[in-house]
């Protein structure tokens, strides 16, 4: 169990999410794949925050701000992901009400 293990697990989950987001028609599956990608990034950020230090470790405030910045970033990533999923689900439901479909390939009014 080392940094590389976590980075590769994060990369695998991100790749799965990328594949799902690009290749699926159902907008809800696309949203779920987006959440997978957010989680993969969070794994990477937290692992970095545990293992990697900047080259110059010690600042005037001590080492804490340099060590745990990754976890603080992950908190903000989770916040943004929650905001994004609320809006995404609202948009999917609005499209379903108007057009009776949740397939991204059917919502083509704004194409061209």
């Amino acid at each position: 169990m080392s940094l590389e293990n976590f980075l590769i697990v994060g990369a695998i989950i991100f790749a799965i999410g990328l594949y799902g987001a690009l290749s699926k028609r159902n907008a809800i599956t696309v949203l779920m794949s987006l959440e997978l990608m957010f989680n993969a990034v969070n794994i990477t950020v937290v692992a970095m925050s545990r293992y990697v230090v900047p080259a110059r470790l010690v600042s005037d405030d001590g080492v804490v701000p340099l060590l745990l910045t990754g976890q603080v970033f992950a908190v903000f990533i989770i916040t943004v992901a929650a905001a994004e999923i609320a809006l995404g689900v609202a948009i999917v439901i609005a499209i379903y009400r108007n057009r009776e479909t949740v397939f991204v390939t059917d919502a083509t009014q704004m194409r061209y």
Binding site: L3, E4, S23, R25
Partner: protein
Amino acid sequence: MTLGGGVESHFATDVAFWVIAASTIIAAIAVVQLRDLFRAAMFLVVCFLGVAAMFVLRRAEFLAVVQILIYVGAISVLIQFAILMTKDVKRGNPYNRLRLPAGIVAVLFLLATSFVAVNTKWNLIDDAIGGSGAGELVRITGETLDAQEVAEVKAEVEETYANTISKVAELLLRDYFLAFEIASVLLLASVIGSLVLVRER
């Protein structure tokens, strides 16, 4: 060198990591591959729980709790509501025309990031304070630390990882306070926005 007690290098922790990693990845594949959307959402919950367990393994206990509260508790319920309200059983969960290019892009991305992750020489914290690389510890001002200062930094690092929750709270409510408040405004804006979007006219 282990931080915050010897738990991290224990054999059982390694086994736990591999079990958690394998089940998280399998659940992620199931999310993308399953035809039944509701089951896919259930596997998404399994995947979120696996990620929370990985946070615990990497000394991010606060994030693990937040992950379970927000992802497992809120986001997955929201997604299941969306699936129930837009149930489209007849057509299932098909692929679009981009399936092959998307697979190629995902595999290329995986190869590239794995290559970078394995081949980069990371500036590891365990090496930096473990003794061998003590000379790497440098102040922001540029001066190198002597042995006693290195020992102090080592104690501080161990204390940081022994109770990350209070340290993260300190950072969130002091150093990143403005960003923290702006995040709450962002959440309020997104809630109002989604209410406006789904309102009956």
